[in-house]
């Protein structure tokens, strides 16, 4: 890989060639130096402890001149600089430890600073001393060679987004040195300007892509941006060329390995080519090559590319030890992002460690993990609260927004959805999330065709955006177009093997079409993925109910109920689960339990005629005629056309008329109760005895009546556990 002009190898990051990174001798090992002022770009990066020999690029030995420069500027207090320093200042300084702040997770090649030479002692010293110390070592820019000065100029211009300046100076340097690294930086400038073609041209005309692996990467990236996917793939290779090479243990410079970046890019190209299988492998490779490649990891998870088992395999195979003392934190962070279907204790543990040990309670990634968990458990109220907490800080967090939109939909919060989608459309017209929000709004409003239009727009923008696919399929369901819905769901199932939802919905569709065996097959597939989803358990219960296997149905319903029990009326799912459970009990002849279920639902949700009708039926079966009649009346009050209620009501009334008026008849008992207080009046005595009752106690009678005609089943009995 090395040529006369040394470019970084695939195991390095671009830190190796940053003009700002101080070169220390290979023999010096890793040395840290304190940075007196949390400097311009605000980050320390571990120095390029490279196996590459020193090159003329960085003649200054001890301290990056940029530091000096920025410190000067900071006296001028330009707003830009102030912003950089805003969070830093002395407190940042004080908090720095030996390996304190360096930026392994920052993929950019541009955020470079010097590292510290001095160690802990300096950290403990006061600020003044730092400055004194620093001023001893101040570099004079004039010490540098002219090319070096130009490089600094170019770099600073790029940092401050003066692309014209950077372009001209970069061009100048390149003409002077013909160094591929300088070509890379020039191309980088082009890239940042958005003139990808020029970057590609530059790299190709000088055939730098063969010379420098970095240039090759950049060229491929530019081609990718230009949507020339095949060409990009040609350049970058359709598999990892370094695969066979023994991976070097540990990363040299703390940045992200180029090899990993290339794998990521390859993966993204495959995604665009809709080759999910390959893309998945590439992403996996990317993160396996360098654990710091969070983006690849994120792709894998947010696009639901991995099944739960695969996710865990992947995380277990990752080499977190590259991260030194951040190892545990990052491991926990990664684990907390995994799918919440299984291994919940481990995820919970990871979250605990993050929030307790590292005080990252309010970190967005940590919160996101929690939000996903809540969403998965259908605890929408809490989920929405948390989402709002995140969005308050970061209004357009595109990771949280889709879940938030789902929550809003589940609460039918039209107004909020309206505002949100407008805001998004204004600010992110190119994001699939925006159009997902718009579509969801229309779905809320019941305008299915519009909703479908926007769902499809969203999924065209990013075919790997799962939410839109599902929404798109839902619109067909809403219109009763089973076939289309099925095909949309199965596409989603193919694209997103990591989520059980498509299978669940497929199963629901088949269930609706009364194809029970197919439905069951799909449910079982979903069940293998996520055995805890109450909705899924409910659907399974329904299948068995339809097959008249009520025992099994009860088993599943009860599990579903257990899973969702604590949420109560918060979700519609809870209500349907309890209703289903009630019907199962009814079929099994456990009348009291069934009544309990129905009554719970009636207490907490909008009543329906069928529900009252079922309740009435149960009362009728239990010979509680009065209750039954009342229930049927209520059913008919809600829906006058309810045939079943009508019939049953007539039956009940007939039975009522048939009832013999003996001393157990409610009418007689209540009249006896009222008679008692006046019993000392002699003429009433006659009346009472004439009814054939000689002595009684009103209280016991009242109790008898209560047991006879009212339902007292609910008090001690709970739904069977």
């Amino acid at each position: 890989m090395s040529s006369s002009h040394d470019t970084p190898s695939h195991v390095q990051s671009t830190l190796a060639i940053s003009p700002l990174v101080q070169r220390t001798g290979a023999n010096r090992g890793s040395m840290n130096r304190n940075d007196p002022i949390g400097n311009s770009q605000g980050r320390n990066v571990e120095g390029g402890r490279s196996n590459i020999p020193q090159i003329a690029q960085t003649p200054h030995q001890d301290r990056s001149p940029l530091v000096q420069k920025i410190r000067d500027v900071s006296h001028l207090a330009t707003p830009a600089v102030m912003r950089h320093n805003g969070t830093a200042g002395s407190s940042l300084l004080a908090s720095m430890t030996k390996n304190g702040l360096f930026g392994p997770a920052l993929p950019s090649t541009l955020r470079k600073t010097s590292t510290s030479t001095d160690t802990v002692e300096l950290n403990n010293s006061t600020n003044d001393e730092d400055i004194d110390h620093a001023s001893d070592n101040v570099f004079d820019v004039s010490d540098l060679s002219s090319v070096e000065k130009l490089r600094l100029w170019r770099h600073d211009a790029l940092m401050q987004h003066h692309y014209k300046t950077a372009e001209h100076i970069g061009d100048l340097i390149y003409s002077m040195t013909k160094d591929p690294n300088d070509a890379f930086w020039l191309a980088q400038v082009y890239y940042n300007q958005g003139s990808y073609v020029r970057a590609v041209e530059l790299i190709f005309t000088d055939q730098l892509d063969s010379e420098s692996i970095m240039c090759r990467y950049l060229a491929a990236l530019c081609l990718f941006k230009l949507n020339k996917l095949e060409e990009a793939l040609d350049i970058i290779g359709d598999t990892n060329p370094f695969q066979s090479e023994p991976s070097s243990p540990g990363n040299a410079d703390g940045g992200v390995k180029l090899e990993s970046s290339m794998c990521l890019l390859r993966g993204r190209i495959y995604v665009s080519l809709s080759n999910m299988e390959q893309a998945k492998e590439c992403f996996k490779e990317a993160v396996q090559v360098d654990v710091k490649n969070y983006e690849a990891f994120d792709y894998l998870l947010s696009k639901h590319m991995l099944t739960t088992a695969e996710q865990w395999d992947l995380v277990r195979s990752l080499q977190f030890d590259d991260l030194d003392d951040n190892e545990e934190m990052m491991r926990c962070l990664y684990i907390s992002r995994l799918s919440k279907y299984q291994h919940q204790t481990e995820i919970e543990h990871a979250r605990k460690v993050l929030s307790d040990k590292y005080y990252l309670k309010d970190n967005r990634t940590v919160l996101l993990a929690e939000i996903e968990l809540l969403n998965n458990q259908s605890k929408f109220t809490q989920c929405m609260k948390l989402c709002e907490q995140v969005l308050e800080v970061d209004e357009y967090n595109l990771e949280v927004l889709p879940i938030y939109i789902q929550c809003l939909h589940s609460f039918a919060a039209k107004n909020k959805l309206f505002l949100l989608s407008h805001k998004l459309a204004e600010n992110f017209p190119k994001s699939p999330v925006t159009w997902f929000a718009v579509a969801t709004y229309y779905l809320c409003m019941g305008k299915v065709s519009e909703a479908r239009k926007y769902f499809s727009r969203s999924s065209i923008m990013d075919p790997s955006f799962g939410y839109s696919w599902l929404g798109f399929a839902h619109t067909y369901v809403a219109e009763g177009e089973h076939e289309q819905a099925l095909s949309a769901y199965s596409t989603a199932a193919r694209f997103f093997p990591g989520t059980h939802l498509p299978h669940l919905y497929l199963g629901m569709q088949y269930n609706r079409m009364d194809d029970l065996s197919l439905a069951e097959e799909y449910f079982m597939m979903a069940y293998d993925m996520c055995p805890t989803d109450p909705l899924l358990l409910n659907e399974l219960g329904v299948i068995y109910f339809k097959r008249q296997n009520y025992i099994k149905a009860k088993k599943y319903m009860k599990r579903a109920h257990d899973a969702i029990k604590n949420m109560k009326s918060e979700s519609k799912a809870w209500i349907s689960i309890v209703i289903n459970l009630g019907h199962t009990y009814r079929k099994l002849g456990e009348d009291e339990r069934a009544i309990k279920c129905f009554k719970t639902v009636l207490e907490s949700s909008k009543p329906t005629a069928t529900l009252w009708c079922s309740l009435g039926f149960l009362y009728l079966r239990m010979k509680k005629i009065e209750k039954a009649i009342d229930s049927f009346h209520k059913a008919l009050a809600l829906d006058q056309g309810n045939q079943a209620s009508n019939k049953l009501l007539k039956t009940a009334l007939e039975i009522n008329a048939h009832m013999i008026i003996d001393e157990n008849h409610p009418m007689v008992i209540s009249s006896n109760i009222q008679n008692i207080p006046t019993s000392h009046v002699s003429k009433n005595d006659k009346k009472r005895t004439s009814l054939g009752i000689t002595s009684f106690d009103p209280v016991t009678e009242a109790k008898r009546l209560k047991q006879g005609i009212s339902d007292h089943e609910g008090d001690s009995m709970d739904i069977e556990q």
Binding site: S569, K606, L638, A657, M667, A702
Partner: protein
């Protein structure tokens, strides 16, 4: 001793009135204050009144404790003083520092009816009183929004109404609500209300919030817990779980008995006499102390409650009057008691006395419109249209926007046979208060007058939904269905009415006729028997129908027994001629003839004077026949 109790009561009423108004339970607070003012002046009038003039200004210090001049101070500041004594006064809600400020803010917003704002500012409180205010304002918010968003066919504008009604009520015979919407009470209770930002309020949620709060905070003040329990009860009641609501109300009352609305709500949770008996037994066990000498000392509030229960469910009348008299002695100027007296007279159909008591009530507390609608009923029944007109004018002058006023006016129009206007005013009353049972029932009566059974059924149904304790609604339903020839329906409702009023012969009679129509002879006989037992004097028509039923049942001897009874009774009374007598005599004559008792047959047949020509012909034939046979 007696005096101590008396002062104690005074003290507690005073305290409760302040407490309750602080926590925005205005009706209860008003009741307490009225009771306080209605109390008999004590012997030590002078000294006490001096105390009271200071104390009623808002302070709750017991007159027995160290007296301070507090009148100039603000109530809440006093409360802060009291805070120091919170160990000794665990039943008040302490308000300190920031909480006090927050309370002032929330309270003023609440008073301005800005419930959203009130709730918003109280969102994160952990103070029990403020938490109650928070939840209460949210509940009221929910209630307000639900009521506003509900459109009710029955109380719409008359033009739309009549058009709507004719369509929608045609199918109403099975008790269907027009378009199935907004059947009061049921479908309302589980609505979600959007607070504007997507957050929903619904009752189950509120319920959970309160129970969570109560679980989390164990060491709450008595009053705070009582208030929250009360709110829980109201929510449960709205959710349609009266048994749950009842237990919450009872818990609340145990902690804080001076909340009269809570007692009323408790009463509204029971719908049958048997339940009232059980409840009273429970209350007797829990709210009265047995003194050493064996005298049971009942809690004052329980005594009031018992009066209310009696009014609703009946019971021992003499005992009731005695009790009422005793309480009246303590609270001679308490208009509530006077009203109760009047109402009970009305209920027992002693209209003349009711009128007298109402007159007293009006002079005593002229601007109290509560219960005057019943007064108008009394006047209506007594047919005093001029007095009724005066009352209507008077009430309208006091406050035209009170449901009672509208009801009085409606009654006036009804007495003038202007049913449409009457309905208009009833509808107005219902617009102001949808849960006004009285107006629903009376409107139902008006519809019956106008021969609109379907609309009447709807009205009665609403009434029974709101207040299932009122037999009138059930009875009305029964009658309306009877008109429609739906006897099994009618029977069911008559049964319900009968269960509420088992000592009323009309109920039994109505049920019996339904049984008769349904060909359930045995049941019909039982009901007729019961009915005739209950009527003081025998009724010939009932006896005749009984006889007929027995005949149908092939029980000739019983039939004969009743027929004979009919004739006997006729001989005793000798009053008016009724068709049944002739028929009975004819039947007996035929019967005796069959059994060859020709002389008896002759006697009976001889008595048939009135009746259709056919009957008389038959009687003559028998007579002729008998003469022949006797001659032979």
């Amino acid at each position: 001793m007696e005096r101590l109790v008396f002062e104690d009561v005074q003290q507690q009423l005073r305290q409760s009135s302040t407490d309750l108004s602080r926590w925005k339970l205005f009706q209860s607070s008003k009741w307490s204050a009225e009771a306080l003012m209605g109390m008999r002046p004590t012997d030590s009038e002078d000294s006490l009144s001096a105390d009271m003039s200071l104390a009623t200004d808002g302070d709750d210090e017991s007159p027995l404790k160290k007296r301070q001049i507090l009148s100039s101070r603000c109530v809440l500041l006093d409360f802060c003083d009291n805070e120091n004594q919170s160990e000794t006064l665990p039943d008040v809600i302490p308000l300190m520092g920031k909480e006090l400020d927050l309370y002032l803010l929330a309270s003023s917003m609440f008073d301005c009816k800005e419930y959203d704002r009130c709730a918003f500012f109280l969102k994160d409180t952990s103070h029990d009183g403020l938490e109650f205010l928070y939840l209460y304002s949210r509940y009221l918010l929910w209630d307000k929004k639900v009521t506003e968003s509900t459109e009710d066919v029955m109380i719409k504008d008359p033009e739309i109404f009549s058009a709507d009604l004719s369509e929608s009520l045609q199918a109403a015979e099975y008790g269907n609500d027009a378009e199935g919407k907004c059947r009061s009470g049921i479908s309302l209770s589980n609505r979600d209300v959007d607070v504007g930002n997507g957050e929903k309020i619904n009752l189950p949620k509120l319920h959970h919030e309160i129970t969570d709060f109560l679980e989390k905070n164990k060491s709450l003040s008595k009053l705070g817990t009582a208030l929250l329990m009360y709110l829980l009860g109201i929510i449960q009641k709205k959710q349609g779980v009266p048994s749950g609501a009842m237990s919450y109300f009872l818990k609340s009352l145990k902690l804080y008995p001076y909340n009269w609305t809570c007692w009323c709500e408790l009463l509204s949770c029971i719908s049958r006499t048997d339940e009232s008996i059980l409840l009273l037994k429970y209350l007797n066990d829990n709210f009265s102390i047995v003194k050493e000498n064996g005298i049971i000392h009942e809690h004052l509030m329980l005594r009031f409650f018992k009066l209310a229960v009696f009014k609703e469910f009946g019971g021992d009348f003499d005992k009731y009057i005695e009790e009422l008299g005793e309480i009246m002695k303590v609270f001679p100027n308490f208009s509530f008691l006077r009203a109760q007296h009047a109402l009970i007279n009305y209920k027992y159909m002693d209209y003349a006395n009711a009128e007298i008591v109402f007159d007293e009530l009006v002079t005593m507390d002229p601007y109290r419109l509560d219960d005057l609608d019943t007064y108008s009923n009394v006047l209506y029944v007594l047919q005093k249209p001029y007095k009724l007109a005066y009352l209507a004018q008077y009430a309208a002058n006091v406050d035209i926007y009170r449901p009672e006023t509208c009801c009085i006016i409606a009654n006036y129009f009804s007495s003038k046979q202007q049913h449409e206007k009457s309905i208009l005013y009833f509808r107005r009353a219902l617009m102001l208060d949808k849960s006004y049972t009285h107006a629903w029932i009376l409107m139902g009566h008006e519809f019956i007058e106008m021969k609109n059974s379907h609309a009447a059924i709807e009205c009665y149904r609403r009434a029974s939904d709101v207040n299932p304790r009122d037999f009138q609604a059930w009875y009305g339903l029964g009658q309306a269905y009877e008109v429609l020839d739906k006897h099994s329906f009618a029977l069911y409702y008559f049964q319900k009415a009968c269960a509420l009023k088992p000592l009323d012969k009309r109920m039994w009679f109505a049920s019996a006729s339904c049984y008769e129509k349904l060909d359930k002879t045995v049941q019909a006989i039982k009901c007729f028997q019961r009915s005739s037992q209950l009527s003081g004097e025998q009724d010939i028509s009932i006896l005749y129908r009984l006889a007929k039923l027995h005949e149908k049942n092939n029980d000739v001897s019983s039939c004969k027994h009743y027929m004979a009874k009919c004739v006997e009774l006729d001989e005793v009374k000798k009053a008016q001629q009724i068709d049944e007598i002739g028929k009975a005599k004819l039947w007996l004559a035929k019967h005796e003839f069959k059994h060859r008792n020709y002389s008896d047959a002759y006697n009976y047949a001889n008595g048939v004077i009135h009746g259709t020509s056919q009957e008389i012909e038959e009687a003559r034939a028998i007579l002729a026949e008998c003469r022949k046979r006797i001659d032979i």
